[in-house]
Amino acid sequence: MVIARRFGATQPVSQLWLVLAIAMVRFYMEKGTHKGLYKSIQKTLKFFQTFALLEIVHCLIGIVPTSVIVAGVQVSSRIFMVWLITHSIKPIQNEESVVLFLVAWTVTEITRYSFYTFSLLDHLPYFIKWARYNFFIILYPVGVAGELLTIYAALPYVKKTGMFSIRLPNKYNVSFDYYYFLLITMASYIPLFPQLYFHMLRQRRKVLHGEVIVEKDD
């Protein structure tokens, strides 16, 4: 019963990402360019990414074995990229870097959810396990590069328009500068990305090579 419930939760999500992947491939095959790709898939992407909030619930109730904090960071950064960058800053929608992170996300999610689905069915082909613990080695840096390059491309527009910012003076005596916020966000990748990357590398050594890793004490 538990297995069936878990299966029901993971299956639709991997379908969603497959649909997105197919839409992207078809667009490229028909148009021969990535320009306008974002515009064509944006509704689907936004729907899925918001759906991804469910991810956190999955972790909370234990369907998916990732920690809530890791999932939280992942989902927040995705929602941030989709809604606060790509959706809101139209001029950068045709940047190559957008395709870069879209491809990275799509392949990662299809691999990851196939892994969960097959694991639950107790019939995990070695290839899926191999893919889950090896693809990230390339996909993580590619995705991060895509995200950072996109944010960087957006900076001039943010500065010029002063979007999402509050200036002084105002009734609540607060200010917010989206431009500097983006700079700080980009800088935060420096401590955060290696932590996630090395965490996955450690998981990989444990799962694929049966190494016993002594975890740090709490």
Binding site: P169, N173, D217
Partner: protein
């Protein structure tokens, strides 16, 4: 007849390696004394960073526990865990409170490089800004004095990394709020003097309340002891909040900051109050649970931090 001396062996909780063997230990020796003996052979592990337990994954034994009262044979096996570098509570409190006091004043006096050069060392024309500085400074001076003269701490030390975490929180928020309140473009409260007077009243009442509770808690516990008793209202009306709440000191603290937020009408202050409230609620619930567990006759009407609600 001579009492039989006990033997104690101390093993590492993770590796089970034998770290120390103490023979000729007095049976009525306390864990504190055993920790001192252990430090002699391993000076880098001073008593404050030792956790000794009967079970490698069990709870730490208390310093006051007596050896012969523990469920051990003639040779006691204790497991050791290193708690990491420790720092005294007093040191942490003094550092984390002195920061905001000093930092706020840097902004109040508009020290150079914070606001534009034409504003260096100028003074705000709004009364509320001067009042806010007095309140904020009073609040932290009060905290420093309470740390030195009022509070009686259960624990001597906490992990060293806490000082970095705590100071970032206190100093960071102090700088953030002080920046806006003392800004040349600061906007005074919408309802003017009325709003400021009301907010000041809330602030003062809550500060008095908070101090009263600290004094009441101090009087519950004799100097040098670690006893725990149920706190009850005293003749001081501010302590009557004990009838409804387990941790009225936190209730009054949140009240003070809400007062300060209304007085300054500054969103960062409101956010600081919210974060503080969240943390204090977690602490209050923990304290409330401990009281319930330890005292069968604990007053049932009391809630952790907000009367009737939370």
């Amino acid at each position: 007849m001579q009492p039989v001396k006990a033997k104690v062996e101390i093993l590492d909780a993770k590796t089970r390696e034998k770290l120390c063997f103490l023979d000729k230990v007095e049976p009525h020796a306390t864990i504190a004394e055993i920790k001192n003996l252990f430090t002699k052979t391993h000076p880098q592990w001073y008593p404050a960073r030792q956790s000794l337990r009967l079970d490698p994954k069990g709870k730490s034994l208390k310093d006051e526990d007596v050896l012969q009262k523990l469920p051990v044979g003639t040779t006691a096996t204790l497991y050791f865990r290193d708690l990491g570098a420790q720092i005294s509570w007093v040191t942490v409190f003094l550092t984390e409170y002195a920061g905001p006091l000093f930092i706020y004043l840097l902004f109040y006096f508009r020290v150079p490089f914070i606001y534009g050069h034409k504003y260096d060392f100028t003074s705000s024309r709004h009364t509320v800004v001067h009042l806010a500085c007095i309140c904020h400074s009073f609040h932290y001076i009060k905290r420093l004095l309470e740390t030195l003269f009022v509070h009686r701490f259960s624990h001597g030390t906490m992990p060293l990394r806490n000082i970095f975490k705590n100071c970032t929180y206190y100093w960071g928020f102090a700088a953030w709020m002080a920046y806006y309140i003392n800004h040349p473009l600061y906007t005074p409260p919408t309802y003017g003097a009325q709003q400021v007077k009301l907010a000041l009243a809330i602030f003062v009442i809550c500060q008095l309340g908070n101090f009263s509770i600290h004094m009441a808690l101090r009087d519950l516990r004799p100097a040098g002891s670690k006893t725990r008793k149920i706190p009850y209202p005293t003749k001081n009306p501010f302590t009557w909040l004990f009838l409804l709440v387990s941790c009225p000191n936190y209730t009054y603290e949140v009240g003070s900051w809400i007062g300060f937020a209304i007085m300054t009408q500054c969103l960062p202050v409101a956010l600081f109050s919210l974060v503080g409230f969240t943390q204090m609620t977690i602490w209050a619930k923990g304290k409330h649970r401990s009281y319930l567990k330890e005292f069968r006759d604990y007053p049932p009407l009391r809630m952790p931090i907000i009367p009737f609600l939370l």
